[in-house]
């Protein structure tokens, strides 16, 4: 085991996988940085520091700095994937799916089905997402629910360095388009990472806590917030089953149902507005499949139905908090 943070786990996995498989290419804005400047291509490695050294090692044919053209970035990744390569396309901010959505949604996601199962589109789109840095309405969104709703895409959200490695490796070894979400506030999170080849299967939730009184489902940064709430609740003798979904498509329905069948009480935490959200999706699934196990109405802890504000205090009010998770847990437990 090595100790590293999520950023380092991503960088080292890209290095290892690109070394192993010469079909893997990387493209995006400033993934090299410095092209066409006096400073020269300097392998600055992206504004998030997630690709340093790759250009130096693998060269400009495989590590491609692009102009600001998200449609072309994602479309080129789709085409390269059809042509037998394994592109990794970086969206500096997940919000820029807005510019490139057609290539994700109508192209990548649908090729295999439309073409009668004859094609593979092994593209990985890396999306930097999430609120918490006051980057306001167009640079903070968590668009995973929208992409989860699109058949043909797999959607993964690592929360630990080990999962960052395991899920990225799995994405690069698989043959379907994968949306790989990186929360901008989690890059520095440290943890143990298995050495050598390490793959994390999709659709297997991570059991973060086993407490037995209430089931809390979360992904991304909301897992960390839920853990904080779990600590508070534990002091009052309340035990939380906390599941980190790891992937929202495929979804580990069995793990969710198994826990809810034992606790009868469900809270889903989601860093998006509530309508058509992941939280709503999971609550509906549980209501349909575990209705008789439920002892209280499921609770959703989400942002309000609004875009994301800029001011720090407004953003804090917008994002679900450990305190809101704690309150929701107390609400489902109080229900008789």
């Amino acid at each position: 085991m090595a100790i590293m943070n999520i950023r380092e786990a991503i960088v080292s996995t890209l290095h290892a996988e690109m070394e192993r498989d010469s079909d893997i290419i990387l493209l995006g804005e400033d993934v090299v940085g410095g092209n066409g400047t006096a400073g020269g291509p300097e392998a600055i490695g992206g504004i998030w520091g997630t690709s340093p050294g790759l250009w130096e090692k693998f060269g400009p044919e495989r590590v491609i700095d692009t102009p600001i053209s998200e449609s072309a970035i994602i479309g080129a990744a789709a085409g390269a994937a059809l042509a037998g390569k394994r592109p990794v396309a970086e969206l500096m901010f997940a919000d820029f799916v807005g510019v490139s959505l057609d290539q994700i949604w109508n192209q990548m996601a649908k090729f295999r089905y439309m073409f009668g199962g004859k094609t593979r589109c092994p593209a990985v789109v890396r999306l930097v997402y999430g609120a918490g840095m006051s980057t306001a309405a167009q640079h903070s969104q968590s668009v995973y629910a929208m992409l989860t709703a699109m058949p043909g895409l797999k959607v993964v959200l690592p929360t630990t360095p080990a999962d960052a490695k395991g899920l990225l490796t799995e994405a690069l070894r698989g043959d379907d388009p994968v949306m790989y979400f990186e929360h901008k506030t989690l890059y520095g999170v440290k943890g143990e990472v298995p050495e050598g080849e390490y793959r994390q299967r999709f659709g297997e939730a991570r059991v973060v806590r086993e407490g037995g009184d209430v089931t809390v489902i979360a992904c991304g940064r909301m897992v960390n917030f839920s853990e904080k709430a779990a600590d508070k609740l534990a002091a009052d003798g309340i035990g939380m089953d906390l599941l980190d979904l790891r992937t929202t498509s495929p979804l580990d329905e069995d793990a969710i149902l198994e826990s809810v069948e034992q606790t009868g009480r469900l809270v889903v935490v989601d860093e998006t507005p509530p309508r058509c959200s992941l939280a709503a999706d999971i609550c509906a699934m549980v209501a349909q499949r575990a209705f008789t196990s439920l002892k209280a109405p499921p609770q959703m802890v989400t942002a309000p139905h609004s875009p994301i504000p800029f001011a720090r205090n407004l953003e804090r009010a917008w994002v679900p908090s450990p305190q809101k998770v704690e309150e929701a847990v107390r609400r489902v437990l109080a229900f008789r």
């Binding site: 804005e29 066409g36 102009p67 600001i68 510019v99 875009p307 504000p309 800029f310 205090n313």
Partner: protein, 342 residues
């Protein structure tokens, strides 16, 4: 702008307009450029305190573009701006104190603290919004131009875009649409030679000349030194007359410089050695303006020094008031999503 006289540019032998300014216009233009500079230099300092959240992209170095263009617009002309929008906002007449409060995330900000530096807008002065999405604005300027043409008052819609934004498909589509429908749309390309950490020499293909792209779409295009107020103003005056006369869209590429990093905190490793010192020494629009007007005995150094002092005091006041202003009420977080919701 009232009081500006220029010869009919088409009659000039060199094809260029000659623009004459009176004393007030010169002092006003200098003041507006200085307000932008001081606003940005002050923010550069204030950001170090950690009090200002989010991304801030400073416009310092490019003042002659915003002022050289917006000084010729009326309040009814409409501009769409970019992530680097403070200069456009100030030049178009946004309230400086309201802007400062917005950037400080305060309730009294122009957008109630909801938008921040990247999303300042003031429709009352024809400022249709800064934009966090690179390339998001150009199509909207065409829409503004469509509206302007229907209203028949000779108004125009203007998109400010960078050398990075000119590579976005939305910009291409907007230019073509404007040509197809002959809209009174103006595409202003501020080439500061960088899109984040990448140079225009790499990211803008072919001739590296953005204006020629606009020409390729079939519109008339101008080129000017964007670090010189008078050159920018003169070129744009020709362009504006052409567009207001109903000749369809036009473009202008301004060669300019950004003094600070892409965003505050950018280590700028892509810069050449001594590059910033050189551009500050050789391409400073405020220095160039001063040299020209003092050299021609139109204004004195004292006149300009007085403006400098007043502007510094004005920005100081804006910062003090911003800091003292209330934070937005968290209970309002989901207000203003709709006009009506039922």
């Amino acid at each position: 702008m009232s009081g500006v006289v220029w010869d009919n540019w088409q009659k000039n032998t060199d094809g260029r307009a000659t623009v004459q300014f009176n004393r007030d216009e010169l002092l006003g233009a200098y003041r507006r450029m200085k307000v932008i500079r001081e606003f940005e230099e002050r923010l550069h300092e204030e950001i170090k305190t950690g009090e200002i959240a989010g991304f801030t992209h400073l416009y310092a170095g490019q003042e002659a573009v915003a002022v050289g263009i917006c000084d010729q617009l009326t309040v009814e002309d409409m501009i769409v701006s970019t992530h680097r929008g403070h200069g456009h906002c100030i030049a178009k007449g946004c309230d400086v104190k309201g802007m400062m409060k917005e950037i400080f995330g305060r309730a009294g900000g122009l957008c109630k603290g909801r938008g921040g530096s990247m999303h300042i807008a003031d429709l009352d002065v024809g400022m249709l919004g800064a934009n966090g999405i690179v390339g998001g604005g150009a199509p909207q300027a065409v829409g503004a131009a469509i509206a302007a043409r229907i209203d028949g008052k000779g108004r125009v819609g203007i998109a400010f875009s960078g050398d990075g934004a000119c590579n976005q498909g939305t910009t291409f589509e907007a230019m073509n649409l404007a040509v197809v429908i002959k809209a009174p749309a103006i595409f202003v390309f501020e080439n500061n030679h960088y899109s984040e950490h990448t140079g225009d020499a790499y990211a803008v293909g072919t001739s590296k000349d953005i204006a020629s792209r606009a020409e390729g779409f079939g519109m008339k295009a101008w080129r000017a030194n964007g670090c010189d107020f008078f050159e920018t103003y003169t070129a744009f005056s020709e362009l504006l007359e052409y567009v207001r006369a109903g000749n369809g869209p036009a473009a202008i590429e301004l060669d300019t410089e950004r003094y600070y990093g892409h965003f505050e905190g950018d280590p700028q490793r892509y810069r050449g050695k001594g590059e910033i010192d050189r551009i500050r020494a050789e391409r400073d629009c405020l220095k160039a303006f001063r040299a020209k007007v003092v050299g021609a005995a139109l204004l004195t150094d004292d006149d300009l020094d007085k403006v400098d002092a007043e502007v510094i005091a004005q920005i100081e006041e804006a910062v003090v008031e911003a800091r003292a202003d209330e934070l937005p009420d968290p209970a309002t977080v989901a207000d203003d999503v709709y006009v009506e919701y039922y």
